[in-house]
């Protein structure tokens, strides 16, 4: 299945599925069909953009670096300071950024589909906050435990947090759009408050801030590899994309098409929990990606995951790349956490999404 096959699928949104339009209407007026930009076009553009950003990301940094040195190293088949810098610091950082961007954007898309709500993302369903709580607790109780153990605990905590949230919103009709994100924000806030309290009592607030403000300054070869897990999860998401789409269309449709809603939902929740946990453990929380990116892509390509997931992944990667490049250059040679930059950029984008909606009518 190539990324660029110009598949002109009719959108799954059928007139016989009024429930389908319910969560998709967030992307505009349900009565006016938007022109859907062909995916190959968007994906090609995203890829070119990402390629440029990758080159930029490899070139920007505090240490001295020149591409001519790399060329020399390639020609002479020997390592020099430029090539080792590339391998130790620049390439790992760039890969970590790309994987994080992909993971957070795809996780956002999954959770939006599973909850049938356009306004949620992993940090609004208690996932990232619960992961940080799990991480703090395991760091305080077993400080010497391996990273993979910490990640496991964080994942379990994130799953529990999301389960709790699902129970909370169980009674809310899916048509009540704004209640779910609002409850999510409050829920996340409560978990964060518990975490902060524990950290406050144990003088570990600063350690907590390491996970609460995502940044890539600590990424080196050998310190980010856990993130490849999220890549694998994204592939899995692509494999089960159709099932997720159908679950997103509503309970009745899923039932009629023989998809177990419960099963798919839990798989989705598990994936989101794991992605959030891995990202929090390795680089820290980065808010808004999971909210903004899927919304932009839906607006351009509709809601069929099989078609839009690659675009979500590419755009997510580009967005984080861009923000990290800004964070690296704005106060050179010091860094500004990418979470801070994305907080600002994401806010602007989100406002644009909200304000742009009525103008389509």
């Amino acid at each position: 299945m190539s990324l660029f096959s110009p598949r002109t699928h009719a959108r799954l949104k059928s007139s016989t599925a009024p429930s389908a339009s319910s969560w998709q209407s967030g992307t505009g007026n349900a009565l006016h069909r938007r022109t859907v930009v062909p995916p190959w076009f968007i994906n090609t553009a995203s890829l070119i953009l990402m390629g440029l950003l990758v080159l930029l990301s490899l070139s920007i940094g505090v240490a001295d670096f020149s591409w001519s040195g790399i060329l020399q190293s390639l020609l002479t088949q020997s390592a020099n300071s430029d090539s080792s810098l590339l391998l130790v610091s620049r390439i790992p950082r760039t890969i970590a950024i790309i994987l994080t961007g992909i993971a957070m954007a795809v996780a956002g898309m999954i959770i939006q589909v599973v909850l049938k709500n356009r306004f949620v993302e992993p940090s609004m369903v208690g996932a990232t906050q619960s992961a940080a709580l799990g991480l703090l607790v395991v760091s305080l109780l077993f400080p010497a435990s391996a990273l993979i153990v910490k990640m496991g605990v964080a994942t379990i905590a994130a799953v529990f947090g999301m389960m709790l949230f699902m129970l909370l919103i169980h009674r809310i009709p899916p048509t009540d759009f704004l209640m779910i994100p609002l409850i999510g924000i409050v829920f996340g806030g409560i978990i964060e408050a518990v975490t902060t309290f524990i950290a406050y009592q144990t003088e570990s607030l600063q350690l907590l801030s390491v996970w609460q403000f995502g940044d890539f300054s600590g990424v080196l070869a050998g310190r980010y590899e856990l993130l490849w897990l999220t890549g694998a999860l994204c592939v899995l998401a692509y494999i089960i994309a159709d099932k997720l789409t159908i679950v997103g269309l509503g309970d009745n449709i899923a039932l009629n098409l023989g998809i177990s809603k419960r099963q798919v939902t839990w798989i989705g929740v598990g994936m989101v929990a794991m992605m959030s946990a891995v990202v929090v453990v390795t680089v820290g929380m980065i808010p808004f990606i999971g909210l903004v990116v899927p919304n932009i892509v839906s607006r351009l390509m509709g809601d069929k995951l099989r078609r839009s997931l690659p675009a979500v992944a590419l755009l997510g990667a580009s967005a984080v790349l861009l923000c990290d490049i800004i964070g690296r250059s704005i106060r050179y040679p010091f860094e500004v956490p990418v979470a801070t930059i994305f907080g600002v950029v994401g806010t602007v984008l989100f406002l644009w999404l909200l304000l742009r909606a009525p103008s389509e009518q």
């Binding site: 759009f177 406050y200 607030l205 040679p333 860094e335 956490p337």
Partner: protein, 350 residues
Amino acid sequence: MPTPLLSSRPTASFFKRPLLTAAMTALLATVVAGCSSPESNDSEPADAKTENPTADESQNVANNDAVSVEKIMVNTVKGDVELAMNPSPLVVYDMTLMQDLAALDVAVDGMPGGLLLKNLHSETQPDPKSVGTVFEPDLEALNAMQPQAILVGSRMAEKYDELSSIAPTLDMSIDTANIYESSKQRLHDLGALFGKSDQAAKLQQNIDGLITETKSLTKENKGTGLVVMVNGNKMSAYGDKSRYGFIHTVLGVPMADDKIADAPHGQPISFEYIQKANPDWLFVIDRSAAIGEDGIGAKAVLDNPLVAQSNAWSKQQVVYLSPDSYLAFGGYYQWMQDLTTIKDAFTNAK
């Protein structure tokens, strides 16, 4: 026809959300995150000499009351404050001041509970009661105690007004940009306030002597220095106006990068920065050790090919400062401990 989802009213909450988050984050960051940088106060240098009441106990001022109380001027961030000597019960909320008082062997009746640092109160004095945390005073406990004086520093300085309504409160924050003069002044004043001026002078001599010794070593060993704090897997750099500025200002170690501005939590840096700045000396504060977490130590975090390229690493000139110095900077024990650490490191330098 379905109602358009994005009617104007509900979206308002979303407009607010990012702002709210930003505001909350900012709040959290400032209020909770243990910022302990004194506001850039116009802390006047030590020219404003306090009247040193020589321990002249024979000076009995005739008074209607049974006991005469000698008053004394104390230099604080908010100007000079007049206070009766030997205030008791005494409450202290700042670890720097606690160290000085412990060294002076002064009884402290109330301090925050659950502090993890050593040398915060004198062994020979009764244990203090808990009166809240380093950020939040327990007003009930304070009210029950009825202290005669409350000493606050950087972290608790924000609560000055609140505490002032209970008892005379002295904001004796250390000015990090001028840490030597500032801490000297505080130690002197505390000595005077509790009638232990001689002891305070002796303690100051210990500090001065050690500074002179250390300086003679740092002077001859030419080489730049960089102060970094390792927190989790991330790092930040501290400049000459920070709480670790004394390494540059007092001991005269040149800065590897003189553009580091002051921030309570340092400036976030990458490992490439260390490679580029290439300090001859790396002074490390292991923040996770400061909270008793011995998981990923600073050593493991710094042990990577980029840091290895710096002179400091290749010459094994990496100095691990006591984690306590983060909270009790400028306190007597902290001076002695950090200076000794640095002196030993420079003594062993090749």
